[in-house]
């Protein structure tokens, strides 16, 4: 059994024009709504946080949060790094392409896992300790059943 993770990839079509999706996907007013993150600013190099623990998020506490540095913010590519401090940075990207006047495809990729075969285990465990299981999974179930 391999000790490595494969890149996570998703493709999803959204029934809106590319410009509208770009705005919702990257604007400081809407990013927290869909990404559930803290301290986001639409600025290259800015660091924001993904706090899985709902109580800590409400308090503005970033303990246990995943850190994200904005690495690309030029239509059609939005990308940020995704890491726990002290572990290698993995890469998250969302690339848009127009499929029609009101249809836009999002190609999502989360890679960079090959940087840490063994260290990864620790990073993932830290992540789970932060309360992902208690806070994120119920949200996921809710989203999936909508």
């Amino acid at each position: 059994m391999s000790e490595k993770l494969d890149p996570i990839a998703h493709v999803i079509d959204v029934d809106v024009p590319l410009d509208h999706l770009w705005h919702v996907m990257t604007d400081a007013a809407t990013v927290p709504q869909w990404l559930g993150c803290m301290n986001y600013e639409a600025r290259l190099g800015h660091t924001f946080h993904m706090q899985p623990d709902g109580a800590r998020r409400a308090d503005g506490d970033i303990a246990g949060a995943t850190h994200c540095d904005v690495t690309a913010l030029a239509k059609p590519l939005f990308a940020f790094s995704w890491y726990m401090p002290g572990t290698p940075k993995t890469n998250v990207s969302f690339r848009l392409s127009a499929q029609g006047p009101r249809k836009t495809r999002v190609v999502f990729l989360h890679d960079g896992w090959d940087q840490f075969p063994a260290e990864m285990v620790r990073g993932i465990r830290d992540m789970l300790q932060g309360g992902w299981t208690s806070a994120v999974l119920p949200n996921l179930a809710k989203t999936a059943s909508r």
Binding site: I12, G36, V106, F108
Partner: protein, 111 residues
């Protein structure tokens, strides 16, 4: 429908929810260890450690290997597959939220 794999996933997250069990996994990451070595590290009774190990074993996170007169516990690399599945699910939830937000706000804008 509750499948066998769903039950196993639930067991993994339940197993990881406990701090002592996460510490056991952290220790096993350094290499296989017998029960007595683990209970010495934790300064708790062997039966208590054995209970935690049983939960971890049932979740597929560790396996027991007979070595001489006692069981040695080994971390299961397969759990990484689960983490991968979990990340996939995590991001597909976010993308679903993005789609719902974008399509909802587009409809609102037009009316």
């Amino acid at each position: 429908m509750v499948t066998e794999s769903t039950r196993k996933d639930d067991a993994v997250f339940a197993a990881l929810a406990d701090g002592s069990r996460r510490r056991i996994l952290a220790l096993l990451r350094r290499g296989p260890a017998p029960v007595h070595a683990l209970s010495q590290q934790f300064r708790v009774s062997r039966p208590a450690i054995s209970r935690h190990l049983r939960v971890l074993r049932e979740a597929g996170l560790v396996r027991a290997q007979r070595q001489g007169t006692e069981n040695v516990y080994v971390l299961e690399a397969e759990r990484l597959r689960l983490v991968e599945g979990w990340l996939k699910q995590f991001w597909s939830g976010k993308l679903g939220d993005l789609k719902a937000l974008a399509e909802g706000s587009w409809r609102e804008r037009k009316t």
